[in-house]
């Protein structure tokens, strides 16, 4: 599965995207696994209430299933316009 990071999430983790092998069933499960990897992931995911997630390029939430999902993206609240 491709995992993408934007804005300060990208900066904290130090890369814009990576391929992740995971057996997590939900976004929250994936976050747990990433957080356990290294300090930079722990720092990026320390407060998930400050994060938003898109699943296959659609805004979603942390309870969302990863079944059949190809792309998950994490980022701070958007500031368009």
């Amino acid at each position: 599965m491709d995992v993408l990071y934007f804005a300060w999430v990208r900066e904290r983790i130090g890369l814009p995207r990576e391929t992740v092998e995971t057996d997590a069933n939900t976004v929250a499960g994936l976050v747990e696994q990433l957080r356990a990897r290294e300090d930079r992931y722990a720092a990026a995911f320390s407060d998930v209430s400050a994060l938003r997630v898109a699943v296959d390029q659609e805004l979603s939430d942390f309870d969302a299933s990863l079944d059949g999902v190809r792309e998950v993206a994490f980022f701070p609240p958007m500031t368009g316009g």
């Binding site: 993408l4 934007f6 804005a7 300060w8 990208r10 898109a54 390029q57 659609e58 805004l59 993206a73 980022f75 701070p76 609240p77 958007m78 500031t79 368009g80 316009g81």
Partner: protein, 147 residues
């Protein structure tokens, strides 16, 4: 409906004129344009806009389609830039065409409210003192409660 996501500058006057010209069925045209503003204490040197290629276009089209479903609109235009912009440059524009002015105004405000908080753009401000990500404002999130 036309959605443009581009690093290049757009010609606001030409886009606005194009959008408004040649319609005999739509009496009301509203445009909104966002300009990089030199906000405050530390003079802004530039604004860098990051986005999510692929999702951005879909998200903007989805917002425009929801506006079209909700108001009686003849046409919708959304242009949004990414990359590095300096104060005075135009970041984005929306335009709406409707038979009646209330529809055109409300749809344009709706587009803006959703663009602010639901389109995958992130702004970073660069000043002589350093740089920082623009933080989403509570009032922009609350603005969605209107709709």
């Amino acid at each position: 409906m036309r959605i443009v996501v581009s690093e290049a500058a757009f010609d606001f006057g030409a886009e606005a004129a194009d959008f408004a010209t040649g319609r005999t069925d739509m009496g009301a045209i509203v445009t909104f344009t966002g300009v990089v503003r030199d906000t405050g204490t530390d003079a802004l040197e530039a604004m860098e806009i990051e986005h999510y290629p692929g999702m951005t276009e879909t998200a903007l089209a989805d917002i425009a389609e929801r506006a079209t479903a909700r108001w009686s609109l003849g046409d919708v235009l959304v242009i949004h830039r990414y990359g590095r912009l300096v104060p005075g440059e135009m970041i984005m524009m929306v335009a709406t065409a409707a038979r009646h002015r209330r529809d055109a105004f409300e749809a344009a405000e709706y587009l803006m409210d959703y663009l602010k908080s639901r389109a995958p753009f992130w702004k970073r401000e660069i000043t002589a003192e350093g740089s920082g990500w623009v933080v989403a404002r509570d009032e922009d999130e609350k603005a969605l409660d209107r709709w």
